[in-house]
Every structure is written in structure tokens, then in C-alpha cells.
């Protein structure tokens, strides 16, 4: 009697919890059985290998983490050869996060991945703040989001999740464009822009100057975005941003998220996802509410 199964696009999840792209890897298989997760999400894969940004790449700040990894990844070829077979062995949904620098590049990346078994969904990362002149431009222009989503919708039958940036005037506008173009679901939020300076050297603490801000500090902002978007669209939301406890996860679900992803908190407590899965189930039982009813159950 597992009360927390969900449908997300064409996928069925045994529970509503996955990991946020870029914050998790197969390394954690040493610690627990990864098939316990509702889904796995890969770090973002690009058409060609990416070395990533110069270090310093991470710095802890006020209740959060700044990162400028710069989408370091081995490229799709190597991903298919090395990582995908490993992921495929794990008995849960696989969401492959991808990024590219043009609509056509995105489409051919999806085409290439579509030839492979073992992939259940694509998360389209149009919101990474760490890749110059790329990625983020997509995420801020509603029309481009529409065109990109439409093109990818024509390209694949697999579940298509568009991951949105919070660094915009109207995230609902962009969300609606993605929905109208045929997205199966949305993921939000990617990191906020943030920065830190060393006052002794007068240098930015990150080599890239500006980084992506994640962790507990961004939770209220993420929650507000999820609530707003949930009220504007009908497709399911995969929510993330600072989730570090069962309580945090529940707030997002009550605000309207169908599923949640744990990001930065993996670094603090690698077993946090499992504790959150159990906690959600316990909440549903002790509050005598089905998971389905819990989604968007906010009382205004």
C-alpha cells in the first residue's frame, strides 16, 4: 500500500522524489540502493564534451551554495558509452538532462539519445546561469522556449520536461509557452544568480564572478515560483530549490508540485532523499490523505 506513486508525463514513479541535475552521481550507489528513488536525473549532457569553468567553482555563502561548474560533462557520445549502461542497470526512471546552444543542436541531441534504450525522459536545461551566451538566453525568452519545446516535441515521444530559470520577470509566461508547445512537465527552479567577494583580495570568490545560488536560502523563492506556476498550468511540476527536509518537500507538494528533487542537500546528507521519501509517506498516512490529494492542497 504505497500511497505515493505518481504519473509524470509518460512515466510512473514509485515515489515522487528524484535528485536535482548536477548534484548527484552514481558514486552514491555505494551508500544506498538508488532504485529506491522515484527517478534519477543525470547532470546536464551537451553535444560535445565540456571542460567546465575555471576554478574556484564553489563557495558556501549565507545559508546557500554558489557554484559555477559550467556544465562540465563528457559529452553525449561518452555518456552513451560509459554512464548510460550504468544508469540503465538501476531499476527506476532515468531523466537525462541536456543542454545545447541552438534549437537544432538540441533536436539532434535528442535524436541521438532517442536511439538509446533506458531513457525515460529528457529534462531540457535552458536555465543554467553558468554558460555564457548559451542556455540562459533560451530560458528568458518565451517565444524561444515555445519554439524549442515544439521542435523537441516533434522529435521525441519520450517525456519532455522543461527546466525553468527563476531569473526572469514572469516565469508563468514562460511556463505557459512551454505547456502550449507540448511539454509533458516543468522542472523549477534552477539556481538564482549570486555572487560573493573576498574583501581582502577584492576578488570575486568564484573565478566566473557570478554563480548559481542554491540551498536553503533559495527555498522561499523557489516555493513562490512553484506556487505561481502551478496556478497557471495543468502539466505536472518537478519542484526543487533548497529542499532539505520532509517539511520542505511537503511545502512544495502542497503548493502544487507533483514531484520534488533534492539538490544541494545531497552534499549535506547523502541519505536525505530516502528520509524524505519515507517522511512523505508517513505524513500521508498520519494525516490520512492520499498523495494525489496532497498535491496542490494549499488552503487560501
Amino acid at each position: 500500500m504505497n500511497k505515493c506513486e505518481i504519473k509524470f508525463g509518460k512515466m510512473r514513479w514509485k515515489n515522487p522524489v528524484t535528485v536535482a541535475s548536477g548534484t548527484f552521481g552514481l558514486e552514491y550507489a555505494e551508500l544506498f540502493d538508488l532504485s529506491q528513488l522515484g527517478a534519477l536525473t543525470t547532470k546536464t549532457i551537451t553535444p560535445e564534451p565540456k571542460a567546465g569553468n575555471e576554478p574556484q567553482r564553489i563557495i558556501e555563502t549565507e545559508a546557500g551554495l554558489l557554484n559555477s561548474i559550467g556544465l562540465q560533462n563528457p559529452g553525449v557520445q561518452e555518456f552513451i558509452k560509459t554512464d548510460l549502461p550504468e544508469y540503465s542497470k538501476i531499476d527506476t526512471n532515468l531523466i537525462v538532462s541536456i543542454s545545447a546552444s541552438s534549437i537544432n543542436e538540441f533536436a539532434s541531441l535528442v535524436k541521438k539519445l532517442d536511439t538509446q534504450l533506458g531513457i525515460d525522459a529528457y529534462e531540457i536545461n535552458i536555465s543554467c546561469p553558468n554558460v555564457e551566451n548559451e542556455g540562459i538566453a533560451f530560458g528568458t525568452a518565451p517565444e524561444i522556449v515555445f519554439d524549442l519545446t515544439k521542435k523537441l516535441r516533434e522529435t521525441t515521444d519520450r517525456t519532455l520536461i522543461i527546466k525553468l530559470s527563476p531569473n526572469v520577470t514572469s516565469i508563468t509566461d514562460i511556463a505557459k509557452h512551454a505547456e502550449n508547445a507540448g511539454a509533458d512537465g516543468l522542472a523549477l527552479i534552477n539556481t538564482l544568480y549570486g555572487m560573493a567577494i573576498d574583501v581582502e583580495t577584492k576578488r570575486p570568490k568564484l573565478h566566473n564572478i557570478v554563480g548559481g545560488y542554491s540551498g536553503p536560502a533559495i527555498k522561499p523563492v523557489a516555493l513562490q515560483n512553484v506556487y505561481k506556476v502551478a496556478n497557471a498550468i495543468k502539466i505536472p511540476i518537478l519542484a526543487m530549490g533548497g529542499i532539505s527536509s520532509v517539511n520542505d518537500a511537503l511545502e512544495f507538494i502542497i503548493a502544487g508540485a507533483t514531484a520534488i528533487a533534492v539538490g544541494t542537500y545531497n552534499f549535506i546528507n547523502p541519505l536525505g532523499t530516502i528520509e524524505i521519501i519515507e517522511g512523505i509517506q508517513e505524513y500521508c498516512i498520519s494525516h490520512n490523505i492520499s498523495y494525489k490529494k496532497l498535491i496542490g492542497s494549499i488552503q487560501i
Binding site: T23, P55, E62, G64, L65, I69, F267, N269
Partner: protein, 251 residues
């Protein structure tokens, strides 16, 4: 690799700046390579968020010890923990030092870089190596053991001067096959140059700010020369020990 919540066995103050943190656990004390480290955090403390990495200082039976220098919030918090307080440990992590067999080896440490060396020394001796151990610090406060060649910059203990200077002198009189080093980067860089000039292999253990500690986040990379190219390597997973000749040092 384990993730465990374990009671503090003891926190022993060494002096104002340093302390030793001990825990007792059967599993965590198995098969640990010298130079490996753990990500440690007091789960009751919300901020700082992230755990902090500490090298393995000593293993006696099922007691695992860390030698820690108080430099900021987390290390200060750890220094005042009471017996029985639950802390979380993730590890062992990293590659650790490759242990030579039946060689003449030199260990060089500076400041808190001493932490992983006694355990390395023990393993090196067990593997039949002849070991010289040089340690340098600013003052007698940074010196931990009389059984090694200590150098202090202010001359308050052992030889006066920089440990690198003493090692340079030794290279002339001794026949060293391998060098193992941990300490400030300027020291590691200087040693790497000395070793390079003499064609002696040197392994250096590096420190970088870490988030995941396991290789998942790509946050802790440094630049390494590999097959003529410069590539990023993760200090937490590909390191913290690297061949000194391959490291591209910060300007």
C-alpha cells in the same frame, strides 16, 4: 564508503589551535589508505551547511582519529563537542597515497599538513621502507611529535628555518627514492621543483573547498597536466594525492 552518524569518543585539545577528534567504529576503521579523508559535520549545526574534509590522522584498533586546526566556524564547532555528541562521517574518500615498498622515502609536512602523515609513516614502515620524516611549522605550536625532524620558522622548536631548506640540504646527503608531502601549496610547489630537478617522484596531498566530497558535483577541480594536455581533476575523487610534477600550481 560509508555514511554514518557516530558518537564522539573524545575531543582532545593539543594546544590553542589544534585538537584531536576521535570516534570508535569497526567498519570505518577497515581498509583505509593513508591520505584518505572523511567529510565530517555536526548535524545539529545548520550553518555552515556543508560538511568539512579531514584526513585520517591515526587508526588504533577501532578508534579513528583526526588532527584538526581551528580556522573557521566548522572547525571551532567541532573542537567543543562533548563525548557522545553525534556527528556524521562520510568516507573514506579519495585515492590516498600510493605506498612504496622497500624504498628510501621522505615525508615532508607543513603546519596542519602533518595530519595525514603519521598514519602514512606507519604504513610505509610496515611496507619495509626506510622513512625520514620532516615537519615544519611557524612555531612550537605547530609541532606535534618529537620523533620527527622538526623545523620552525621562529626557531622555537627543532631546526630554525623553512622545512624546504632543510630538505634541500638532505637531498645532497641522502638517497631518496620517493617523497610524500602535505602542507601549504607554496611548500608543495617548492618541493615539487626540488624533486623534479632530481628526478625524484613526489606525491602531494592537496586541499580544495569541497561540496559533495565524492566526485558528483565537480566543484573541487584543479588543473593537471595529462598526456600533454591540461585537464581538470577532482581533488576529492581523483585526489587529494597527485603527482607533484603534474600539478599546475596557481600563480
Amino acid at each position: 564508503m560509508y555514511f554514518k552518524k557516530i558518537p564522539v569518543l573524545k575531543v582532545e585539545s593539543v594546544n590553542d589551535e589544534y585538537f584531536v577528534l576521535r570516534i570508535r567504529d569497526k567498519e570505518l576503521t577497515q581498509n583505509i589508505k593513508p591520505g584518505q579523508f572523511f567529510q565530517i559535520k555536526d548535524p545539529d549545526v545548520a550553518i555552515p551547511l556543508l560538511p568539512r574534509p579531514f584526513g585520517v590522522y591515526d587508526i588504533k584498533e577501532d578508534v579513528l582519529s583526526f588532527l584538526i586546526k581551528k580556522v573557521g566556524e566548522s572547525t571551532k564547532n567541532l573542537s567543543i563537542l562533548e563525548e557522545g555528541h553525534i556527528i556524521q562521517l562520510l568516507g573514506p574518500l579519495g585515492n590516498g597515497f600510493p605506498v612504496a615498498q622497500n624504498k628510501k622515502v621522505l615525508i615532508a609536512s607543513g603546519g596542519i599538513g602533518y595530519a595525514p602523515m603519521p598514519y602514512l609513516e606507519q604504513k610505509l614502515k610496515e611496507a619495509g621502507n626506510e622513512v625520514w620524516f620532516y615537519h615544519g611549522g611557524q612555531s612550537s605550536n605547530d609541532v606535534f611529535c618529537d620523533d620527527v625532524q622538526n623545523c620552525t620558522e621562529d626557531g622555537s622548536c627543532g631546526h630554525a628555518g623553512l622545512v624546504t631548506e632543510h630538505i634541500e640540504n638532505c637531498f645532497d646527503s641522502m638517497d631518496v627514492d620517493v617523497v610524500y608531502a602535505c602542507g601549504p601549496e607554496l611548500m608543495l610547489q617548492a618541493l615539487s621543483v626540488l624533486c623534479n630537478e632530481r628526478n625524484i617522484p613526489i606525491y602531494v596531498s592537496l586541499e580544495r573547498i569541497m561540496a559533495c566530497g565524492v566526485g558528483a558535483c565537480c566543484g573541487c577541480v584543479i588543473k593537471i597536466k595529462e598526456n600533454g594536455k591540461v585537464v581538470y581533476k577532482k581533488v576529492c575523487k581523483d585526489g587529494p594525492v597527485f603527482g607533484g610534477a603534474k600539478v599546475i600550481w596557481d600563480e
